[in-house]
């Protein structure tokens, strides 16, 4: 009756304890060697991938920092002439333009992207899976496509012309799938046990989404949005074809504006060394912009995470 009664040991093993230990020992030695080689290879790969990045940053700081002064941030660009080849002025127009573009693009992309992501995360419908594939494809699309789309749709088809709104539209299209996908992942990361807890308390599905799931996923959602913003700030291709540029401080949606990436693109092609040198200053400001946005996203997320645990 009791299954334990039937258990007996198989007698007389031909493989002895010592044989097993011997095999295990040589095996261990081999494993240790392989482990060391692979670790060294990984480390080498890390160094190789870090070197260009470090070189870039060093060059950016050494060549860019000298360009930065108050006038750089507060005055408009001036064209160097043969008489005064070192005259460059500041990039206040590009700074204002980039801020305006980022704000408009965020206002368009964040609400739509977050709602789409919540839908993707909470729905199991066929439509949602089609939408997910669309979002994933869009996220991988070259950014110049967004520029072309902004140009043909807003600039030409809607007759808005080169404008901040056309540029931020193109950037918003670029941000949208990134936000939707990161929101979806955050929503899916919320443990099902919390949804069940809500159900068991008589909460309806929409209440569970708004009161339980979204608050629990908020850290991830906000981080995803900030990273999308950081990416949009530095994008050149979408703004190249849409914002028109200009040498005045302009932020109004329907007017042409400038932007930091555009200034880099234009100045880099300049025949004056002074303007080409200024590129490093602009690039440094752009990198600092991106750095501040993504760093604050991470710091915020880390703090929030700590408070909830």
């Amino acid at each position: 009756m009791n299954p334990m009664d039937e258990l007996t040991l198989t007698p007389s093993l031909t493989v002895t304890h010592d044989t097993i230990q011997l095999i295990a020992k040589s095996h261990r030695a081999r494993r240790v060697l392989i482990s060391r080689v692979v670790t060294a290879l990984c480390l080498a790969a890390l160094v190789i991938s870090a070197v260009p990045l470090v070189l870039l940053l060093v060059q950016l700081v050494t060549r860019g920092a000298s360009q930065l002064n108050t006038a750089f941030f507060t005055t408009l660009p001036q064209s160097p002439t043969i008489m005064s080849p070192n005259l460059t002025g500041g990039v206040s127009n590009a700074i204002i333009g980039t801020i305006a573009l980022t704000v408009y693009a965020s206002l368009m992309a964040i609400p739509v992207g977050v709602f789409a992501g919540v839908y993707l995360g909470e729905s199991t419908s066929k439509f949602a899976s089609v939408l997910r594939i669309v979002a994933q494809t869009m996220a991988g699309a070259p950014s110049i496509l967004m520029g072309l789309f902004g140009f043909s749709f807003v600039v030409k088809f809607l007759h808005v012309g080169f404008s901040a709104i056309a540029g931020s539209f193109a950037l918003a299209v670029l941000m949208l799938p990134v936000i939707a996908i990161s929101t979806e992942l955050s929503i899916r990361g919320v443990p099902n046990t919390l949804r069940e807890a809500g159900l068991a308390l008589g909460a309806k599905p929409h209440t569970i989404s708004t009161k339980i799931v979204i608050p629990s996923a908020l850290t991830g959602i906000v981080t995803g949005c900030m990273l999308a913003v950081a990416r949009a700030v530095g994008e050149t291709a979408p703004v190249l074809l849409t914002i028109g540029g200009g040498y005045i401080n302009q932020w109004r949606p329907l007017n042409p504006v400038s932007a930091l990436p555009l200034s880099i693109y234009i100045n880099a092609k300049s025949e004056y060394p002074s303007e080409r040198a200024q590129v490093w200053g602009i690039a440094l400001v752009l990198v600092l912009f991106v750095f501040v946005v993504s760093l604050s996203a991470r710091v915020w997320a880390a703090r929030k995470q700590k408070r909830n645990s």
């Binding site: 009756m1 009791n2 299954p3 199991t124 443990p191 046990t193 919390l194 069940e196 807890a197 809500g198 159900l199 068991a200 308390l201 008589g202 909460a203 309806k204 209440t207 009161k211 339980i212 608050p215 629990s216 908020l218 408070r307 909830n308 645990s309």
Partner: protein, 279 residues
């Protein structure tokens, strides 16, 4: 204190205190079977759960205890392909085919899960009253009163009174589970379903929860799934013993008083299980 609940403007909460006669039947199961995509997980469950008693569902892994328990507050509703057959009556009303919505049912039949699952973004206070808020109760004085009473009933008030606004994640596992019990009690349910509520807790926290359940049955009917034979014999009045059949579907072998199940079962398999011969 009970009367305060009836002042709620929410109809779901109103129903909760009606028609309770000690000794009467709280829930009846008639040939209940649950299947997923046509594959039966548990079947042939027919028994009455008596009001204000602790009924435990026991049986080895795979015997369908949790599946059966989750059918009692329609938690399978959202699982694609899940189907519940037979009848489950709450105070005489068929919970699947009657005019009761799943939401109303769940405010009357609360649930505590295997692992403590307080809402991590909410404070202790917000966790306790979350069920009331989900169902439209807004009055601050009422929420405060129910929060205190529920926490007291869950034997948690003394230790959290001074830190009600602190995140629920700061509590220990045992405290979190008692918070989940308080959260379920806040809706003043008629029945409380518990799915191995102590399996993730240490022995001392387990003991405290067990003591709590014995006290709680004065207010609420408790149906508890447990793997722990001692627990079932210590705290339950009635026992349902389930076992996996030949086709791997769980079925009810025996339902009786705990005393009978452990000392004088009708089925030899029940005796083998309670004596620890398998499972």
């Amino acid at each position: 204190m009970d009367q305060n609940i009836t002042e709620a403007n929410s109809p779901e909460v109103l129903v909760a205190t009606e028609s309770r006669t000690p000794g009467s039947v709280a829930m009846s199961l008639r040939n209940v079977a649950v299947s997923f995509n046509g594959k039966t997980a548990v079947r042939d469950c027919t028994f009455d759960v008596e009001s204000k008693k602790v009924t435990s569902l026991i049986g080895p892994s795979g015997s369908g205890k949790t599946t059966l328990l989750r059918a009692l507050n329609r938690l399978h509703d959202l699982t694609p392909g899940a189907k519940v057959n037979g009848q489950i009556l709450l105070e005489g009303t068929d919970i699947y085919r009657g005019d009761m919505t799943a939401t109303e049912l769940r405010t009357r039949v609360g649930m505590v899960f295997q692992r403590p699952n307080p809402f991590p973004t909410m404070s202790i206070y917000d966790n306790v009253i979350s069920g009331l808020r989900f169902n439209g109760v807004k009055k601050k004085s009422m929420l405060d009163e129910i929060a205190e009473r529920s926490l007291r009933d869950a034997a948690l008030w003394e230790s959290v009174e001074s830190r009600l606004k602190v995140s629920a994640g700061n509590l220990s596992g045992g405290e979190q589970q008692r918070l989940c019990i308080a959260r379920a009690l806040a809706l003043d349910p008629e029945v409380l379903l518990m799915d191995e509520p102590t399996s993730a807790l240490d022995p001392i926290a387990t003991l405290r929860i067990e003591e709590l359940l014995v006290t709680l049955k004065q207010r609420v009917t408790i149906i508890i799934v447990t793997h722990n034979m001692q627990q079932a014999s210590r705290i339950s009045d009635d026992c349902a013993f389930l076992l996996m059949g030949e086709d791997r579907a769980g079925e009810l072998i025996e339902f009786s008083t705990t005393q009978k199940i452990f000392n004088d079962p009708k089925d030899s398999r029940t005796l083998d299980y309670t004596l620890g011969r398998f499972g």
